[in-house]
Amino acid sequence: MAGLRQRRARRQRALRWVVVSLFAVLFLLPLVAMFEFTTRGAGGGFSWETWRVFFDWGALREAYPILWTGMKASFWLVLLSAAATLVLLVPTVVWVRLRLPRLRRLVEFVSLLPLTIPAIVLVVGLAPVYAWVVYFVGGSSLTLTFAYVILALPFAYRAIDAGLSAIDVRTLSEAARSLGAGWATVMWKVVLPNIRSAVLSAAFLTVALVLGEFTIASLLNRDNIQVAINQLGKSSATMSVAVSLAALVLAFVLLFLLSFAGRRRHRERKTS
């Protein structure tokens, strides 16, 4: 029996190395290719020129105004969308758990609904809604926040719901209330610190989603980094490949950090 298990462990290790290595090679190949593509010099040699411009923001702004606008818009969109998603969703989900348990299924259903509505479909219906948005708050690219909150709902909901399931919200809030805390205090000082990693993961997922969003921004004629990359691709492929690579790496780092945030919660729970 022990021999069998050992043999199996060895076989699994071999399989793991083969499959994971193949996967790594196949999936790193485009990244390597992107890097090589961006470091081609004028004469066919190696050159850091593209990256030098990329990191010299003054020059970048001069040479590629579209890109600069897109990056700026995406930066604010990321912050606004993550904040708006959390402000809208966290109090609602906590409140429903505490006071309106019957609405829980409904809120879950509604939050997961955007998964069944493709962005390209949503944008068709959003066009008239955005006519009103422009009328009330103007046509800035930052108004995309509204649509992005909807796109982020399913992912943020799942993260927050999982976080809340891991703690006993009701007991915590009743204990705080019985000691004289108001709802704001319960929310801010009791519930929120307990679901910190869930909130963090909801925020990270929203950030990744907003950084990668193209469909809605492009079809509503707004600017963001993906729209800029696409436009730039027609005139300066090298720079748009460089920005693509930087965006992919940034998103990877975000999600890799996120995997640690998630783990820490497990360990805390195990020791307590």
Binding site: P30, I150, G212
Partner: protein, 304 residues
């Protein structure tokens, strides 16, 4: 530790609850108002616009003309191509992705390998879009890294039969590239649910590895595998950005047809055709997601 606390608090509160109930209920509902108002404006209204628009003529009167127009040759072709593309990449992605997921699972839940692979998969599966299109242009575009290497070093011209990257075959390749990581992400939890005891039980009863996969793990994982494949299908079917950035000519698939219906000067009497196509997409995705839900319920019976 926690259970008794809940009990006492409930008892303390019980007498006060009935008296103030009606007014408090209403006040409680106010707490979820912002959420529902927001969702109504930015999710329900757009959906209604699509549904109602699909059945409305240019003059606003109800009509079936848009729905009937879905039977036009070029739209049917677009749907067939979309469905074929999605099905093909879903099956390819599911098969390869499941293998990768299994390899990752054997590494243990806290390993660096798993963390690296899942983060990379998260990026490629959900971040994708335009950036992936450019990744492939840099890799196997006309002057891409691999294209140039194959041509100059091995004398192989991958585009000898024409440049296929910017057409359907290119879409199959790039879509598969983001479907595999998505499969890894959605299939991992199911594999995590498989308990080592089941394998030990099979072995102690004399079952071989083949027997274990054929009669124990296979049937247990089958609903999860099928469900994940459906999710991949819906994912590919809804995808727009990659195709928009990659396809250079025409609108071979439905999302691109919707784009041209939205952006080009519309033909007279066809103002709402885009909405009808959008409705068609929703119907397909909703159907697939409904099946997915059914399979999910079956999966969770054993693998939670």
């Amino acid at each position: 530790m926690t259970a008794p606390t809940t009990g006492t608090l409930d008892q303390v509160k019980a007498p006060t609850t009935p008296r103030v109930r009606g007014g408090r209920r209403r006040a409680d509902l106010l707490g979820v108002l912002p959420f529902f108002v927001f969702v109504a404006v930015f999710l329900f209204i757009p959906t209604l616009v699509v549904v109602i628009g699909a059945f409305g003529g240019d003059d606003g009167r109800p009509t079936f003309a848009n729905i009937q127009a879905l039977a036009d040759g070029y739209i049917v072709d677009a749907f067939v191509r979309s469905i074929t593309l999605s099905a093909l990449t879903a099956v390819l992605g599911a098969a390869v992705g499941a293998l990768v997921a299994y390899a990752v699972v054997t590494a243990g839940p806290d390993s660096v390998v798993r963390r690296l692979v899942t983060s990379a998969c998260g990026v490629l599966a959900q971040f994708g879009g335009v950036t992936l299109a450019f990744a492939f242009i840099a890799t196997i575009g006309i002057s891409g890294f691999v294209t140039v290497f194959l041509r100059d070093s091995l004398g192989v011209d991958i585009f000898s039969g024409g440049v296929w990257l910017f057409d359907l075959p290119g879409l199959v390749l790039v879509y598969t590239y983001f479907q595999i990581p998505l499969m890894v992400i959605v299939f991992l939890p199911a594999l995590d649910g498989v308990r080592p005891q089941w394998r030990e039980a099979t072995e102690s009863l004399g079952g071989s590895t083949w027997y274990y996969w054929r009669h124990v793990a296979g049937p247990l994982l089958a609903p999860a595998f099928l469900g994940s494949t459906l999710l991949l299908f819906a994912n590919a079917f809804s995808a727009y950005a990659t195709a928009a950035a990659l396809v250079s000519q025409g609108s071979p698939i439905v999302p691109l047809q919707i784009r041209s219906a939205l952006t080009s000067e519309v033909l007279l009497g066809r103002e709402n055709l885009g909405k009808a196509m959008a409705l068609g997409m929703v119907v397909v995705v909703a159907l697939v997601m409904w099946l997915y839900g059914l399979l999910q319920r079956r999966t969770s019976r054993w693998l939670d």
